[in-house]
């Protein structure tokens, strides 16, 4: 436990350590890295969605000034192994493919060749001189086309574009549907979107022929798994392979896995014996870095007339695009949807089916709350139930959400629900927004022809989830490690497995360690992102794990070093360690601030002459295992909209979030995560669409076509913190994903509410679609 009298940084909005460099222009991002002899590369990419490659002529490109190499699939043979999703999943097609297109291109942006030159400018000149002759094939764009056996299969070796299907029951849905008063249905067609980190992907591969050492400076959320995958696929000894991350300009899941391009860049550096840098431009990022959310869900509920939900029937379809991501088998996203869709609601029966399709589009990749389709589908269904039964949508939620008194209990899909206060966040939200008052305002506004609406969205998310959540989704991650080390000057170094890129872990973990150790924040340094020093993690930063898992690991590693320091000090001072405490960077006798010695004096003494029979350094590695209870974050979002009936533009005058992520480490950081997440959710609901036309051309390849919301679109977002009862000493839970998970449903429900309960089934809600919905609403009245 924390020392009496020690400064408590946890719970305070302390200033971010990261800002010292970020606000002064001294961050060091990928494209800032310059190495001796470094070359730069550019990819030749397919401008067709589906075609056979008849020939590639790089003769002219190879002879251009400053060009070192033009690498195609032929040159890569032997340097990079053929690629395939590793996990064998029954029923899941796993085609073999290559880092560069081999014989065929399968989406606009598919990498065909890699040009390496003395500079980016020269590489791009030569890239434009590579001549690729294509024989076009019919493009497979929609999921219905993917299901059509008459259209060509993307991958000859698997022969079908239907990559995965499953169907199963939870509980006894047939009985529940038969017993229900009625069935209410809803449907959601969620648009393909993309992550848009402000910095795109890239890397600098530094190969030293003399020692066979390969260092990859990678913008990676998971350096250790990137290293493992590189070692396996490049057949490079892992002990000579190091992945190290610079500052990263956002990721949101897009940089979680190793990309085909990463492999090519590393192989090129090995072939050429010089460092090679690749930094993608925005067009590449939008077209080829990974997309998400192209899913449809048809959902029905067996309900009683009082709004009680007895069972669900859920049919999910997911368009994974062309190439599967290497690390994450696409069905996993459906499995999390399947596991979480019952959520904090008292729903015990479900019919479930999942279909995953391949198409001539960019790869489906995990994006902030990758299973968010479950909340979107469920929360719009709840509003449909309310509308069709003539009930209030808040009352339908109240009737079906689990109370704390019912917990612990099990979701129908398996995971334990404990300490989940979603219903309390709903009540708090209803109070906060003066719901009844708004309904009155809405009625008056409608009389004046103004369209006001309100939408709720209540949810929980695994952040990181209880241990049995991972059993339910069939994906194990394990505990999280941290290293803590007292330096000879008495400062503390904490090394985390996290690979932060905006989440402020340097600050939050320093808050945890400084509070535990009894030293000022400035005496703690958090290191990360270098596989030579960081403890192993297959996950890195992702899955909303850091708040619980990295904090827990840092806490326990720090505590262990503290125990060692107290024991050594006890020996030196000839006093029992129990009578000592650490405060203000001094070890002192409890209650006697003037006694004892500075941590720096102790550390210097221990390093200079280690006590007999003791290890000589003040260091500890802790493995923090998932606490057995709780593990969820959640909350309720309330979105207010006003729709301009003339233009179809949806404005959001007010947005409120009541969130529960347990105890707060740094409230300002939590607020920032919530607001940023909501902004992305609003983008999904109203603006963003990674669009392809019928021929498979990608038509959202600039920021003029792919609309990222600006300060003119995103409103101020009220954030209210609610703390459910703690289940563990480490009562901090992840908060990065919830905003994006919950917001689309809140916005969509508000739009539907403004239009008198009109069905809203397709995202994004662009002005033309909203105008069409207004027409539908008018026709019904």
């Amino acid at each position: 436990m924390s020392s009496v009298g020690a400064a408590r940084f946890v719970g305070q909005s302390v200033a971010r350590i990261e800002d010292a460099r970020i606000l002064t222009g001294r961050g060091r991002y990928m494209d800032d890295i310059v190495l001796p002899g470094m070359l730069e590369g550019a990819f030749v990419r397919s401008d067709l969605g589906h075609a056979r490659i008849a020939s590639i002529d790089a003769t002219r490109a190879r002879s251009m000034p400053g060009v070192l190499a033009v690498i195609t699939a032929t040159e890569l043979e032997g340097a990079v192994s053929p690629l395939r999703v590793e996990a064998e999943i029954p029923n899941y097609l796993r085609p073999v493919f290559h880092a560069l297109a081999d014989g065929k291109v399968r989406y606009v942006g598919d990498p065909v060749a890699f040009v390496v030159a003395e500079s980016r400018y020269l590489a791009e000149d030569a890239r434009d001189a590579v001549e690729v002759d294509y024989e076009p094939l019919d493009a497979v764009i929609t999921m219905d086309q993917a299901a059509d056996p008459d259209l060509p299969a993307l991958f000859d070796d698997v022969g079908s574009n239907v990559f995965y299907t499953e169907a199963m029951n939870f509980g006894e849905p047939d009985g529940a549907f038969a017993a229900a008063d009625r069935v209410v249905s809803a449907m959601i067609d969620s648009a393909r979107v993309t992550h848009v980190p402000m910095e795109g992907r890239g890397g600098v591969a530094d190969y030293r022929p003399g020692t066979d050492e390969l260092t990859y400076h990678a913008a990676s959320q998971a350096p250790h798994s990137a290293r493992q995958a590189l070692a396996a696929l490049l057949k490079h000894p892992a002990d000579r392979l190091r992945v190290v991350i610079p500052d990263i300009g956002g990721a949101f899941g897009q940089k979680a896995g190793l990309s085909r391009e990463d492999l090519v860049v590393c192989a090129a550096a090995k072939m050429l014996g010089r460092p090679v840098k690749w930094v993608e431009d925005r067009i590449e990022n939008l077209a080829a870095a990974g997309h998400a959310r192209e899913e449809t869900i048809e959902i029905s509920a067996a309900v009683n007339d009082d709004g009680t939900i007895l069972a669900l029937d859920v049919k999910m379809r997911l368009n994974q695009g062309a190439y599967p991501m290497l690390g994450t088998p696409t069905p996993l996203f459906g499995w999390i949807v399947r596991t979480m869709i019952g959520n904090a609601y008292r729903i015990n029966h479900m019919r479930w089916s999942l279909d995953v399709y391949a198409s001539n589009k960019a790869s489906y990749s995990a994006y902030r709350g990758p299973w968010a389709a479950e909340t979107l589908a469920r929360e719009i269904l709840i509003d449909r139930i309310a509308y069709e039964l003539g009930l209030d949508p808040v009352d339908v939620r109240r009737r079906n959400l689990l109370t704390l008194e019912e917990q612990p209990c099990k979701m129908m899909s398996g995971p334990t629900i404990e300490a989940v206060a979603a219903i309390d966040t709903l009540e708090r939200a209803v109070e906060l927004v003066d719901y009844d008052g708004f309904r009155e305002d809405q009625r008056r506004a409608r009389e004046q022809g103004r369209l006001l609406g309100v939408g709720f969205s209540t949810y929980i998310e695994p952040a990181p989830g209880p241990p049995d959540f991972f059993a339910a989704i069939g994906f194990t991650i394990g505990g999280e490690r941290a290293v803590a080390r007292l330096e000879p000057d008495g400062h503390l170094t904490v090394i985390t497995t996290q690979a932060p890129h905006g989440q402020s872990h340097e600050t939050t973990l320093a808050q945890i360690a400084a509070t535990e150790f009894g030293v000022p924040m400035a005496h703690v340094r958090v290191l990360y992102g270098d596989t030579n020093t960081a403890p192993y993690s297959s996950m890195g930063t992702g899955g909303s794990r850091a708040a619980t898992m990295a904090s827990g690991a840092a806490l326990h590693a720090t505590r262990a070093v503290k125990q060692k320091a107290l024991a050594y000090a006890g020996d030196m001072l000839e006093i029992s360690p129990e009578d000592l405490e650490i405060a203000d960077a001094r070890i002192r006798v409890k209650g006697d601030p003037a006694s004892g010695l500075a941590l720096g004096e102790l550390a210097a003494a221990v390093y200079a002459s280690p006590p007999e029979g003791e290890e000589s350094d003040l260091r500890s590695v802790a493995l923090f295992n998932q606490p057995s209870g709780g593990g969820y974050s959640g909350g309720t979002h309330v979105c207010f909209v006003e729709i301009d009936a003339e233009t179809g533009i949806v404005r959001i005058p007010r947005y409120e979030v009541v969130e529960d992520c347990g105890s707060l480490i740094n409230p300002a950081i939590v607020d920032g995560q919530v607001r940023g997440g909501v902004a992305q959710g609003i983008g999904i609901a109203l603006y963003e669409h990674a669009r392809y036309n019928e021929e498979g051309m990608f038509v959202s390849s600039t920021f003029l076509d792919y609309l990222v919301p600006t300060a003119m679109e995103i409103p101020n977002i009220g954030v209210t913190h609610f703390e459910s009862p703690p289940t563990d000493e480490v009562n901090y839970r992840g908060v990065g994903e919830g905003g994006t998970i919950a917001a689309p449903a809140a916005v969509l429900n508000a739009v539907s509410d403004a239009l008198g309960g009109t069905r809203v089934e397709q995202l994004p809600l662009t002005p033309d679609r909203v105008l069409a919905l207004i027409d539908m609403a008018d026709e019904r009245t």
């Binding site: 909005s13 001294r26 961050g27 800032d32 402000m198 500052d247 956002g250 607001r675 920021f703």
Partner: protein, 156 residues
């Protein structure tokens, strides 16, 4: 064709020989080593590369280095004075204005221009002024608040 380009950056005279087609952003970043300016889209929409050229904000991805010859340029590295954060930096730090830091240089330079032209902007004016800058992390509220707070600090 190599051209010698000389500019005054953050008060210092700097020069380098560059290709006529080199962008101002690449000149600042790679020829002068001022990597605080970032490239987020290279087509003039995201605003990450915004610098001040003779006091006016400019997208350094859409401007050639040769066009900037003889001008006075301010980049994010030039905001702190003698190692002391200026009011805008202080306000952004206090209020957790940014997260990943990639869009930061553009917002900081846009806000610098705004506060020079309109020392006490309203929230609506701040939002309008930064509407040509994209941030994907924050949802903008912390940036808007930071600029409003900076205006107060400058006033005090």
């Amino acid at each position: 064709m190599t051209v010698e380009v000389a500019v005054t950056v953050n008060g210092q005279l700097r020069s380098a020989g560059v290709d006529a087609r080199r962008t101002l952003a690449d000149f600042l970043r790679h020829d002068l080593g001022l990597t605080g300016t970032h490239l987020g889209c290279e087509h003039g929409v995201c605003g990450s590369c915004t610098v001040l050229v003779d006091g006016a904000s400019a997208r350094s991805c859409l401007m050639l280095a040769v066009q900037a010859a003889g001008t006075e340029i301010t980049t994010i590295e030039g905001l702190a004075v003698d190692g002391e954060l200026n009011h805008l930096q202080q306000a952004m730090g206090d209020g957790h204005g940014f997260q990943c830091g990639f869009c930061t240089p553009g917002f900081m330079m846009t806000a610098t221009e705004l506060l020079r032209e309109n020392p006490r902007p309203s929230e609506a004016q701040v939002r309008e002024a930064i509407s040509g800058n994209v941030c994907r992390c924050t949802g903008y509220e912390s940036i808007v608040d930071g600029i409003l707070r900076a205006a107060e600090l400058i006033d005090e």
